[in-house]
Symmetry: C2
Subunit: 194 residues, 2 copies
DNA sequence: GTCTATACTTGGATAGAC
DNA sequence: GTCTATCCAAGTATAGAC
């Protein structure tokens, strides 16, 4: 279920709108009525494609994670050194945030996690673990090759960077001229690049 | 309005429960009914103390910000150097997070900000600005005294650290053994302490 | 696949007795 | 200050026609 190929055009439009709503107002901040209006369909029609709100949320996160995984592969291929890769990674978040100050889907759901269905939290954890694993790998390689240096291990640095990216988007929503996730990453990386 | 001295004992209990709910499930994740059950009072009685949910939310944030300001004064007085002060500051968030993985009140509300009443967002922005101003001052002083060093200015470093702290709590909710805001700060500060 | 209609529940808020 | 009772709107979900 929720294989991207299996999503009909209507289901895709619904998922698009639902994702934007999650990134904008959060899972608890939107209803089927909001989707209905944005997509030009009645509430009952939404239920035809996603029987429950949880189903819709799970589909959105799974698709989001899949697309993120594709981006991770591209970042690895397009750049050589660890610092360059990490900045390209930060730009994924920068692009998201520049789009109407959207938060990361899983950043938003992570904040709301204590009020979400277990099925949703499972997907959110998977997203974060995937990102932490990828970051740890890139950082570990950077340390081994001498482009990065720190007294802390790769896993710790990975979680620190991911936390910084998510937090920069969150805080950025409430300050007048936010530095944004890209620049925040530059500040952090300045302390560990060689 | 919302002066702490003016809060009756019942209003205090309601505000306590409301704050914990915000930090746990978010503003959009709780209702007057939840408060009613936790505090052992009927919904109508809650409305007697806070006429609307927005009023209650504003009172919670204002009180939270005031208490945070007190803590900032104490941190300044209790520690000398900028690095020590910043770690003591990080411990404010560490303590919050260790309490049942509670998020910062304004971290949560910041995530939800696009669905909140303007009166609430005003208070959230004030909280962040207060923290950024305090951090910038401490960092600026640290740079001037030679205990901190960076190619970035104090304001940028302040927003980076605050973002990291908020993000560490958010991400920490979705990982098995989170490093937490305190340790995340240590990782970042390692790159700018002399 | 989409619609109308509707059932059922919850949420925010008010009136008025005690 | 707290209660019961109630209103109205919104939210999730289903039934059944087209």
């Amino acid at each position: 279920m929720s294989n991207p190929i299996e999503l009909s055009p209507s289901a895709m439009r619904i998922a698009d709108v639902a994702q934007a709503l999650v990134q904008n107002v959060g899972y608890n901040g939107f209803s089927f009525e909001h989707i209905s209006q944005a997509v030009g369909m009645r509430k009952a029609s939404i239920h035809h494609h996603f029987s429950t709100k949880v189903d819709l949320g799970v589909a959105v996160v799974q698709r989001y994670t899949r697309e993120f995984e594709q981006a991770l592969l591209q970042v690895r291929n397009a750049s050589e050194s660890a610092p360059t890769r990490l900045l390209a990674y930060a730009d994924l978040f920068e692009t998201t945030f520049k789009n109407n100050q959207h938060l990361c889907v899983c950043g938003m759901l992570g904040a709301e996690s204590n009020s979400l269905d277990a099925a949703l939290n499972t997907e959110v954890k998977r997203f974060f673990q995937t990102n932490l694993d990828w970051l740890s790998g890139v950082i570990q390689e950077g340390i081994a090759r001498g482009s990065l240096r720190s007294q802390h291990d790769a896993n710790t640095l990975a979680e620190t960077l991911l936390s910084l990216l998510e937090g920069a988007m969150l805080v950025g929503r409430s300050v007048a001229a936010p530095i944004g996730p890209r620049r925040a990453s530059e500040v952090f990386l300045a302390g560990i690049v060689c």
